[in-house]
């Protein structure tokens, strides 16, 4: 536990020691505010559906940018060699790093609370759906982060990690989209619609939090963190 905390602190601080965190937060807020106010001025409605609805696509580009350096950089500059010869277990490193990136996401989400505040000021929203929306956003974001982290463990090139992260998230996202689902064979349909990254998020957005949706995201996170730890450990036998 203490090791995870130490890794978390180091990584979280390193986000804010470099421009990454600031760029991420600024762009994310600018982008989502623009989307929000665009729907507001076009349809005249103060609501968050547009904002939440686009998140799976915004995350596709933003999240791999946050995770790409997590392990690739350690490998590239060789600091992995000190880190992995400390009395720390591989999974502790992975979990610490994941939590740090999740922390950044949570901080960003916190800043974005200005939007629901604007909604409350400008209109009369359903508070329940907004809270559900944020919970779904964090769960889905966690899944993207875990996938991005895994992409970062299999290469030492950050750009490749970024592209791999986007590709993996993209594939997992679109298999749950209607267009893809219409053309999948019947026997694959339930699997795809279950695995789709955005499917459970949309159901959370409707305002009901089903334990199955939570379990889905936690499993995705667990699975990719496990893969990341295995990828890190595989260095030993190469």
């Amino acid at each position: 536990m203490q090791n995870i905390k130490a890794i978390f602190k180091k990584e979280f601080r390193s986000y804010f020691n470099s421009p990454i965190a600031y760029i991420f937060i600024t762009f994310f807020l600018a982008f989502s505010s623009w989307l929000f106010f665009r729907t507001f001025f076009i349809s005249g409605q103060a609501e968050m559906r547009g904002f939440f609805g686009l998140m799976p696509w915004i995350f596709l580009f933003f999240i791999p940018a946050v995770t790409m350096k997590l392990w690739a950089e350690e490998k590239k500059i060789g600091t992995a060699e000190i880190l992995m010869t400390l009395p720390i277990k591989d999974y502790e490193v992975v979990v610490g790093k994941f939590l740090a990136s999740f922390g950044l996401l949570a901080v960003t989400a916190l800043f974005s609370l200005t939007l629901p505040i604007a909604v409350i000021v400008l209109g009369d929203p359903d508070g329940g759906t907004i809270i559900c929306g944020y919970i779904g956003l964090l769960l889905m974001g966690g899944a993207y982060l875990a996938i991005g982290l895994f992409a970062s463990t299999i290469t030492e090139n950050q750009i490749i990690a970024f592209i791999l992260g986007i590709s993996a998230c993209f594939v997992l996202l679109i298999i749950g989209e209607d267009i893809v689902l219409f053309s999948t064979p019947n026997w694959l349909f339930p699997i795809f619609s279950y695995l789709g990254l955005g499917v459970h998020y949309s159901s959370i957005l409707r305002g009901v939090i089903d334990s199955r949706d939570i379990i889905y995201y936690l499993s995705i996170i667990g699975f990719f963190l496990y893969l990341s730890a295995s990828a890190i450990e595989s260095r030993k036998w190469r």
Partner: protein, 331 residues
């Protein structure tokens, strides 16, 4: 403290470490030397549980590297080659992080950090980020990191590379100091450093241990290659046969003839000065006009070449290299 048996590791088709075995105990400073690509770093990485060997086993501080990697790492301070560090962290911030992951109790962290700052001479740079440091200071931060938990075993991969002469001497003294109680295993390409600090030399070539012992042991092993340089006024045709006739002479190689002066490198079955004086007597008896006679003492360079190249260094070009290195060493 370190016991290594038949350790073998290959990267794909490259055999990096080939059935390496050796022992080392507390109070020893073991110099790990060998040409580039010999397998030093790979061996160290296996001992620190960064890599896993394909075959063989190793115990470090009594723990098996495969079964108890965490216990092994607790007992080892490791400085990897070229001291990789986080450029965006401050020096103190980094040491704090290390103290935390090294499980140093909160109450002692400050004290330990100040201690290693003191030992490694980092007082002047505690305000800085690691990325702003010169190579030598970065190396020191790496060293500080390896010492922070006061480990019984230190494994240092080229700790003095990139340091200026003053810093090099400081680090050497530090190694000697540490070696009084701890086991220090360090690699280097600077041979005089090994002679100055090590109680034992471990030489590796193409993945195999080719020599293991004190400097005196190794000198003994290559004694037969001790050469005598002999220069006589005369002609090669006249002198070479006479030299070959001499009792105890095992090899005569003609180096050059210059203005009626011939130079030889001679190996004999006798040791050091005995052989020289024998040659001197022979010169007196044969009334040779002796211009020069000296015997070359064996040093680590000769030993290194002997074990790593298989060339018994009697080719002229080789001996020139040795002499150049000798000269630079004495500066």
């Amino acid at each position: 403290m370190i016991e290594v048996r038949e350790l073998t590791k290959s990267y794909g088709p490259t055999l990096a470490v080939d059935r390496v075995s050796f022992d080392a105990k507390a109070g020893e400073v073991v110099g790990f030397i060998g040409p580039n690509g010999a397998g030093k770093t790979t061996t160290m990485r296996i001992l620190t549980c960064y890599l896993t060997a394909d075959a063989g086993n190793a115990t470090v501080a009594g723990y098996d590297v495969l079964e108890n990697p965490i216990d092994v790492r607790k007992n080892v301070g490791y400085l990897p080659e070229s001291a990789p560090l986080y450029a965006d962290m401050g020096v103190v911030e980094y040491l704090k992080f290390m103290a935390e992951v090294r499980d140093i109790p909160k109450s002692q962290r400050k004290e330990r950090i100040n201690k290693v700052i003191d030992i490694c001479g980092l007082e002047g740079v505690i305000q800085k980020d690691i990325g702003e440091l010169s190579k030598g200071y970065r190396q020191r931060v790496g060293l500080a990191q390896s010492l922070i938990h006061d480990p019984p075993i230190l494994i240092l991969d080229e700790p003095t590379s990139g340091l200026d002469p003053t810093q090099t001497i400081e680090i050497r003294n530090l190694i000697i100091e540490m070696g009084k109680e701890k086991l220090v295993l360090f690699s280097t390409h600077i041979l005089p450093e090994v002679a100055a600090t090590c109680s034992r030399i471990l030489m590796i070539n193409q993945g195999k241990i080719v020599a293991n012992g004190t400097l005196e042991d190794l000198i003994e092993q290559v004694r037969s290659e001790e050469k005598i340089h002999l220069t006589i006024r005369g002609t090669e045709e006249e002198i070479t046969p006479q030299l070959r006739e001499l009792d105890g002479v095992t090899g005569v190689s003609h180096v050059k003839t210059d203005n009626g002066v011939v130079s030889y490198e001679i190996t004999t079955s006798q040791e050091g000065y005995d052989a020289s004086s024998k040659l001197f007597h022979a010169a007196q008896q044969n009334r040779w006009d002796l211009v020069e006679l000296h015997h070359e003492t064996i040093d680590l360079e000769n030993i290194f070449l002997h074990f790593t190249t298989g060339i018994s260094s009697d080719t002229p070009s080789n001996s020139i290299i040795i002499e150049e290195k000798d000269a630079s060493e004495e500066e």
